[in-house]
Symmetry: D2
Subunit: 335 residues, 4 copies
C-alpha cells in the first residue's frame, strides 16, 4: 500500500487528489498539510468529504512527513513550491510537483515568466510528467514536474503530428477554453458567480505562462524548435478544457491517413481516445481521459482535445505518474 | 423631464436603475455617486454601459445634488443609509431608499434585526413603497422605503387572501429561492463560481431580516397580527425569486373562487399577472412583473410568485414609485 | 464476484449504475439490455464510457440473462416494469426495480396515480429498498422496490421525528427542488437548454406520484397514518434534490435535543450525515450520501436534506441494496 | 409611426424583435404570423410577454399584411424564406429577411451549401444588412438580407484590417463560441439541458454555412478574394458569440497603431466599441453592441469580438436596418 502525502491540500487539486486516492486500491492518503490557518478536519475544508475521510489537515512537519509517506504530491503554488521541494526530496520521498517550478528546463524562460529560480539543481533532473510522451523517464524519476492543464490538452492534441513531422512548426495556434476551477479556489471579482455566469472571455493574450511550456515540450517531441501561439479563454462551467489547435500540414493528407496515424500513435494508451467526431467536454468531466479528434478543413489541420483540467490536467495525471513510479498498474484509481 | 440622482450607484441596484432610466422617456440620470475609491467613468464600473452613458460617478456633494436632481434613489446599504437620508431630504429632494432602514415601523423590531436607529423622525413618515398595496400613500410621500425583494414577492403572493380574511394568520410558510445577485456584488467564498454553480442551499434559518418586514406589512393588509415563517434559499442563477407560500384556508374554497378572487384583486394592476399555472422565473427575468398563481392542494392553499429580485424586487419598483410620486404614467420605463 | 444485469440501460440511471459498478470491487456488469433500436456499443450510447467499458447493449433475452447474471437492476419506466419483473424473477435472479410499480402496497392508491396493476402477486412480497429504514427486510428480499428520489430525501429528513413520535402527523409540508436529470433523458420543450437555464418553477401541484409513496412509508415509520403535502420544483442544475420539510412539533424541543436525537438515530448509518448547518447540494453531488440538518424556527421544525437524485435517489441506493442482499460490505462501490 | 409585421414570429428572433419594438418610440408591431398550429395569443407563445402585448399570432394573409404594415421582418428559416419573400415584396412592403436566402450573391455557392435557389431576381438586388459596412446601400434597399450572427461578429472584428489592406487574405482563422439560443428553439438531444449544461464542443468542421458568407463580404471589404477558416463551437450559456480571429499582418504594426486604426474606423459607429482589453460576452448580452479588441501576439494579430447573437446578430441588427431604411435615428429602440 503506497502511502501518499498531499502538501498544500487546501485547493481544488488537493481535493481531487484525495477523491482519486479514496478509490485507489493500492494507495492511501496518510498525511495532509496546509497553512496553519487552514488546518482542521478535512471535511470542514471540503464538505463533500463529510463521512468519507476522517483526517486532520496539519501544518507541514518534515519529520512526520518522512515517517508517514512514500510519495508527496506537492500542490503548492508556483514560486512557493521550489522553496519546499528540495526539503521534500531530502526526506527520501518521491515528489510529484503540481507547480510550474520544475517544468521549464530553460531557466531564462522560467525567469522571464515567473521569478528567479532558486533550485536549479533539482530542476536539472526533474522529469516532465506527461506519461504518453515520457513514460520511461517517469518510471525512474525522483521528482516529477506534473504538466500544466493547458499543455496537457494541447500537446496530446498534436503530438502525433509533431512526432511524425507532418506539420509546419511555426504558426501553430492553440485556442483553449477552460472552466472556472482552472482559476483556483480564491474568490475574485471576475469569478463572482453573477459576473462569470453566462459569460465567456479571453485573457492572457500573448503572455500566458503555459505557452513556453507547450513550446518546450512540442520542440522535444518534434526534435526541432516549435512556435505556438496560445490563446486561453474562460467559460461558464466548472471543469474541463477544450482545445482547438490549428496547424498547417507539410503535405496533403487524407482524413483516413490522419485518423489512422492518430490511432496508431495512441493505440497502447489507456487514457487517450481518438474519436470520430469533435469531443464534448462533458464526456471527459471527472475522468482522466483525453478525447482527441483530428480533422482537415480548408487546407488546415484542426485538432480538438478535451480533458478535465483537474484530473488529466492535474490530480489524475499526478496519480497516473505515481502509479508508473511505483510500478503499479497505470490505471489504478483512475478508471 | 425628472432629474434622477443615484446615491451609491456602484452596486447591482445602481446599474439596474440606470438601465431602466435609459429607457425612460420622462426621466434621466443626472448625478451618480459612490465612495471615492469607486469613482470614475460609469462604463469602467459597468462594462455593459460602454458607449451608452457618458457620465462620471462622483463622490457625493450635497450642494451639487440639490442643484442637479429632483429625486434621489438611495442605494446605500442597510445601516449606512439612515446616516444620509436626513441630509438628502434636507436638500428638498424626494427620496426613494432601497435599504431596510425605513421599512420597519417598530423601532424595537428594527433594532433587534439591525442596530440602533438614528433617524426615528423620518422613519415615522416614511411610506412602504409597494404600489399595489399603498399607492395612495406613495403619491404624496417625501420618503419612500422601497420594499425588500423577498417581501415584495411573498406579499404579492398572498395579499388577496389576507385582505379578504380567507386564511389563518398563523402558520404561514414562505419558502423562497433567490438568484445570486441577491447577495450583492462583493465576491465571497460561497458565491465563488465553482462553489455556487450546480449548487442550492438554505440560509438565514429563522433569522432573515425580511421576515419581520413581511409580517409587518402582512399584518397591515390583514388588519390583524400575522405570523409567517420565512425560509430563504439561494440557487445557481443570476436573477429572480420564486416564492412558494403555504397557508391554511379558513373555509373551503374552490379553485375557481380562488382564481376569481385573485383576478379581481389585481385587475387594475399593470405589473401583476395572475396565471393559470405555476410561474417560471425566466418569464419575469429583467421585467418589473410579478407572476402569481394560487392553487389548492390537500387542504392547503399554495401561492406561487415570481419576480426579478433586482427589478420588481428593487430598481424597477423604485422607478414605479418615482413615477407615482411625480404623477407620471406608472409604467414609464418599465414595460 | 456478483454478476449484474441492467435491464433498460439506456437512461440516466443505467449510466449511473454502470459508473458505480465500474468502481465496485466485488461486482461487475455482465449484461446490458435496451430496446432494439437503442442497442449497440455502450460507448455510442454514453460518450463518457468511451474506452472504459467494452460491451454491447443488447435486446433482452431471458435465457442469456439467466446464464449471465446473479441480479437484475431493472431500470424500465413505470408501468412497463411490471410487465417484465415477473419474468425476471422466474429466471431465479434477484431483482432491484427502479420503477414505482412495486413501491405502493395499496393497489387502489397505485391505480389512482398510475394504471391497473398487473402483478399483484409480486407486489405483495416486494420490499421497499430504503436501507436506513428497512435493512433487515432487504437482506432476504428477492424483489426490492428501489425508492423514488424525492421520497428518499424527504423520508431521511424526517424519519427520526416520525419514529420518535415527536411531530404532528398532519400538515407536514415537503418543499423540494430537483435538478433536470430528474426529468429523464428525453428532450422536451421545458428542458430545452435556453428554456431551463436561469429558470426555476414548480410542477405537479398536489398531484405528484411521489406524494402517496412518501405518505405510505412515513405512516409505516410513524406507526400511524401520516399526511404530507409534497410540492416539487425543478431548477437549473444537473443533479441533486434539496428538500425543505416543515412540520409541527408535538412538544417543545431544544435545538440540542433535536440534534442529539438525529445523531443517535443515524449513528450507525454510513450514508447519512447529520450536519450542523444547512446542507449544500453540491456537497452530495455524485455521492450516495444524504446530508440532513434539523432546525427550529418560530415554533416549527424545519428539516433539510440533500441527496444526489441519480445516486442515493436511484442507482447508488440500488447498489447499496444489492450489497445488502448479497451480504457484501454495504459501502462497496459507493464511497 | 412605422408599422411592423413579423412573419414567422414563433422563434427566438421573433420574440427579440417584439421586445425591441416594444421599446421603440417610432415603430410598433401591427401583425404577427406563424404556422397555423402555432397561432394564438402571443403570451401563450412567449410567457415573458404576458401583460405586455395583447396580440394574436395569425396565419399569414397577404391582404391583411399589405393593409397593416410598412415593413416585414421575415423570420422564416433558410430555404423557406425565398418561397415567401417575392410575395412580401409584391405587397409593396420593405422586407428585412433573417434567413440566408438572400445573403450569398453567388448562386453556385448558395446552392452548394443550401439548395436550388428559386428567387434569383430578388437575390440580385438584395442588400447585405451590415450597417457598419453597407449603410448607404441599405438606405435605399427594398430587400435587406440581414447578416448571419457569426459573420456579423467576425466581420466587425477584422473589417478595419481588411479595408486597410493590413493582413494577408489567406489563412485567416475565425474561432467562435455561441450560446445555445443560436441553435433555435426546437428541443434536440444535444440541447437537452443535462447534455448541454457544463458542456462545450465544436461542430460544423469545415462546413458551416456562415463560412462562405464571411468570405464573400470579407472579399468585398478587402477588394480581393479572402479565404477564411471558420470553426464554430457551442457553449453552456443562453446568448452571445465570442469570436477570436487570428490573422497574419502584412507588415509590422505597433499595438498603438492598431488601436488607433480601429478607433478611427469605428469612430462614427454607435454600436461598435473598441475596447482596451478582451471583451466579455456578458457585457454585450441583450444589447445591440459589438465590442471589439485587436491585439498583437507572437507576430499574429488576434481580433476579439463579442455580440449578442439574437440582437446584433439578428433582431437588433434588423431594427437597425429598419431605422436606416425609414430614415429614423439609427439607435431608436436599441440603446
Amino acid at each position: 500500500m503506497i502511502r501518499v502525502a498531499i502538501i498544500g491540500a487546501s485547493g481544488y487539486t488537493g481535493l481531487e487528489s484525495i477523491e482519486i486516492l479514496l478509490r485507489h486500491p493500492e494507495a492511501r492518503v496518510t498525511y495532509l498539510t496546509a497553512l496553519p490557518e487552514e488546518c482542521g478536519h478535512v471535511a470542514d475544508m471540503f464538505g463533500s468529504l463529510r463521512g468519507r475521510l476522517e483526517m486532520q489537515v496539519e501544518p507541514l512537519d518534515m519529520g512526520k512527513l518522512a515517517d508517514s509517506a512514500d510519495v508527496a504530491l506537492c500542490c503548492l503554488p508556483h514560486k512557493v513550491s521550489m522553496g519546499f521541494v528540495p526539503r521534500l526530496l531530502d526526506t527520501g520521498l518521491k515528489v510529484i510537483d503540481f507547480s510550474a517550478d520544475y517544468r521549464l528546463k530553460d531557466v531564462v524562460v522560467y525567469e522571464k515568466y515567473y521569478q528567479p529560480h532558486t533550485d536549479r539543481e533539482n530542476l536539472a533532473h526533474a522529469v516532465f510528467g506527461l506519461p504518453e510522451l515520457f513514460r520511461e523517464d517517469i518510471r525512474s524519476a525522483r521528482l516529477v514536474a506534473n504538466p500544466g492543464c493547458y499543455p496537457t490538452g494541447a500537446l496530446l492534441a498534436i503530438a502525433p503530428l509533431l512526432k511524425n513531422g507532418l506539420i509546419e512548426t511555426k504558426g501553430i495556434i492553440v485556442n483553449s477554453v477552460t472552466g472556472v476551477t482552472g482559476g483556483g479556489k480564491n474568490p475574485s471579482v471576475l469569478f463572482h458567480y453573477p459576473n462569470m455566469n453566462e459569460n465567456l472571455l479571453a485573457y492572457g493574450i500573448g503572455s500566458h505562462r503555459h505557452m513556453p511550456e507547450m513550446e518546450q515540450i512540442a520542440s522535444v517531441v518534434a526534435g526541432t524548435p516549435v512556435e505556438m501561439l496560445f490563446q486561453p479563454h474562460v467559460g461558464p462551467f466548472d471543469r474541463g478544457i477544450l482545445s482547438t489547435v490549428y496547424c498547417d500540414p507539410k503535405r496533403s493528407l487524407t482524413k483516413e491517413e490522419l485518423h489512422e496515424m492518430y490511432r496508431t500513435f495512441y493505440q497502447s494508451e489507456q487514457f487517450v481516445r481518438v474519436l470520430n467526431g469533435p469531443p464534448a467536454l462533458k464526456h471527459v468531466a471527472r475522468s482522466n481521459y483525453c478525447h482527441v479528434f483530428p480533422a482537415i478543413a480548408k487546407g488546415k489541420i484542426i485538432c480538438f482535445s478535451a480533458i478535465d483540467n483537474l484530473i488529466k490536467g492535474a490530480s489524475g495525471q499526478a496519480i497516473q505518474n505515481m502509479n508508473i513510479i511505483f510500478d503499479l498498474e497505470e490505471t489504478l484509481g483512475l478508471k
